[in-house]
């Protein structure tokens, strides 16, 4: 019994090698991080891109030229390659350094402003982002809109000189510190049968009149998430990002950039490093060595896939399928580190510890549910993969 076989779509872009320049940069970043560690500037943590808010550290990075790296020099950036940024980012995450303050601005707001922003918007925000002085949040999800993002109900009504915004956004990381965020809102009713129409992105000043920000504590009790309520908030016309009504396309483009980066498999790397530290000198035995080696093999492969996607993005392509695959595998891998740690070391998690293995484990355990949710649930991503396979 035979069947006709058609070809599958490419599931990963061709393997990429980092240029020699990027490797020289890596050495500089490592030296910087070693000095920071030696000075006790911060303690390595799990999931630092959500929880490690440290504006002084962010400014020290900016002073080295490691923020806004891909922003052109005319906007205060450094005109570097996305692969250079990739190297800096993976080094920071692997070290468990506190990168949350600039994270959203550096990863997606800068690129979005460059793609869709007006000249005035770029001049207003990009230099501050590159200087580590301006911080952004994300305003996508709402109480009744999670995976089904097109169902957002926040509504902007046209008024003289701008828009009046009413509604609620949730899970806005760092919203209590951030200066502004991009809100996906409805600016007109959807056209018949086109539920993605009528959505726009507004740049909302989080200190504007009518904006109320309330904490939503995480499982750890820490305040990173926020609810952001708009009550008749005025947003001037020149703070519409891109075109009115083009919000959906802009947002999905933004998501593609945030699915395949090193933050999708390194959130618990500091725990893995601490695990290796706990195991050194211990009698691990063959099964334990296999468990540990299997984990590192998965990490090696994930990083290679992520780099391949980064290389493809850098050359102007949009490998949506491969990016979804990296996030699905990578965020599950972040959980696998926890499983392996628990299997190999008999130290219970301790949320009260100052640092070290027990604290890294506690934070990892309590943050883990978010890994496979944020940026598109893994089930939604598998739906994207299934569509790519021609199944839907």
């Amino acid at each position: 019994m035979t069947q006709t076989l058609s070809r599958l779509p490419a599931l990963t872009p061709p393997a990429a090698e980092l240029p020699a320049r990027a490797e020289a940069l890596r050495a500089e970043v490592r030296e910087f991080l070693a000095d920071e560690r030696a000075a006790g500037a911060w303690t390595p943590r799990s999931d630092v891109w959500l929880s490690g808010w440290d504006e002084d550290f962010t400014r020290r990075l900016a002073a080295r030229g490691w923020l806004g790296m891909t922003i052109p020099a005319e906007y205060g950036g450094h005109g570097a390659s996305p692969l250079d940024r990739y190297v800096v980012t993976e080094e920071l995450l692997a070290a468990g350094a506190p990168v949350a303050a600039h994270w959203v601005a550096d990863r997606q707001i800068g690129p979005s402003l460059l793609r869709h922003g007006s000249e005035a918007q770029r001049r207003k925000y990009l230099p501050g982002i590159a200087a580590g002085e301006v911080y952004f949040g994300i305003g996508m999800s709402e109480p009744d809109s999670g995976s089904d993002l097109a169902s957002v109900r926040s509504r902007a009504t046209k008024v003289d000189g701008g828009w009046s915004l009413t509604g609620t956004k949730v899970w806005t990381s760092g919203g209590h510190h951030a200066h502004a965020f991009f809100a996906l809102v409805r600016t007109s009713p959807p056209e018949e049968g086109k539920r993605h129409s009528g959505l726009s992105q507004l740049i909302v000043d989080l200190h504007a009149d009518g904006v109320t920000i309330r904490p939503i504590p995480l499982l750890t009790g820490a305040h990173h998430f926020n609810e952001v309520v708009f009550d008749d908030v005025f947003v001037p016309d020149d703070m519409v990002l891109g075109d009115v009504g083009s919000g959906w396309g802009q947002v999905t483009g933004e998501l593609a950039f945030e699915r395949s980066g090193p933050e999708r498999f390194l959130s618990t790397f500091p725990l893995l490093a601490a695990l290796v530290g706990e195991l050194s000198g211990a009698d691990l035995g063959p099964a334990g060595r296999r468990e540990l080696g299997s984990l590192v093999a998965r990490l090696w492969a994930l990083r290679r896939m992520s780099l391949a996607v980064a290389g493809s993005l850098a050359s102007g392509e949009a490998p949506e399928l491969a990016a979804a695959v990296v996030k699905d595998l990578g965020t599950r891998f972040e959980n696998e580190i926890i499983d392996a740690a628990r299997l190999l070391v008999s130290i219970p998690p301790d949320p009260g510890a100052e640092g070290g293995y027990a604290r890294l484990l506690a934070d990892a355990v309590l943050h883990a549910p978010g890994f496979t949710l944020r940026g598109g649930t893994n089930e939604v991503l598998r739906g994207i993969v299934a569509r790519g396979l021609g199944l839907r």
Partner: protein, 332 residues
Amino acid sequence: MTIPVVDPDLVELAASVFADATDGNLWDTLEQTGLARLAVAEDAGGSGGSLLDLGAVLVEAGAAAAWAPLAETDLGCRLAAAAGLEVPAGPLTFALDAPLTVDGDAVSGTLTRVPWGRSAAAVVALTADSVVVLDPATATVVEGTNVAEEPRDTLSWSAATAAVAPAPEGAAAEFARWAALSRSLLLAGAARGALTRAVGYAGEREQFGRPIGRFQAVQQQLALAAAEVAAGGAAAESAARVVVRDGIAAPTAQLAVASAKVRTGQAATEVARIAHQVHGAIGFTREHDLRLTTTRLWAWRDEDGTDGDWAARIGDLTLAAGADGLWSLVTA
């Protein structure tokens, strides 16, 4: 950034050769097209292709479940050449850690589970200190197979005359890596082949009035399999590139090849499981071609070092690197 690329025409050629040839005449076609010794130097009777060319062809061979000792022939040529020995024309095979007694040019002993041993023109074997080129025609052969029914034979020689040369330094470790790299590429291909069949079947098979691929439960499973295919493929291809960049003896190649073998082995397990689950009972029968790729996935994940063997080596490398060296190890 200069990245060596593989000629798409070569991949097309290989895919069409594997698709069209029957098992009986495949080797002849491979020789006629120059694919049989693709990465062997031209002055040694090969086609002078690159390792990446060979890698791409091995992936195609795996996807098509090609009935030919392509990887084994390449390894036999490679091992003989490293020792300065000649090999005959035709399909070759190889043996590592070979428990043979070498006395001058007289070789005795038994090799087990030799791939394609019964039909090879020569067996190139690496003992503790020698490389020997043996003629299977002078051996006592007991035929065996792996779970994919590929030949894995036991060959015994008693004072057979063989070409013998000293083993190059480091050959045992390096050739174990060559074998694992080749097997990883074949596994990556077989995983893709199994997924291709499963996706095709899910689009054709109807239950409850629609193709089963329309059900989210099936879509989610196939997406998981696709992720495994992607990871295995990326790992095997990247490992080949590390070997091209740094050489098989480099420490970076050790981690790369070991990771590729482990990751493709893990992918093999998951992809075979899902491909069978999607196919239902028919895939579990000899009537259906799904088995050609899935039985190879099960066989190959345990050949040339199991995932467990290679994972343990990575575990050792990791412990040696320590907490502070782990990230450098992974990014080298």
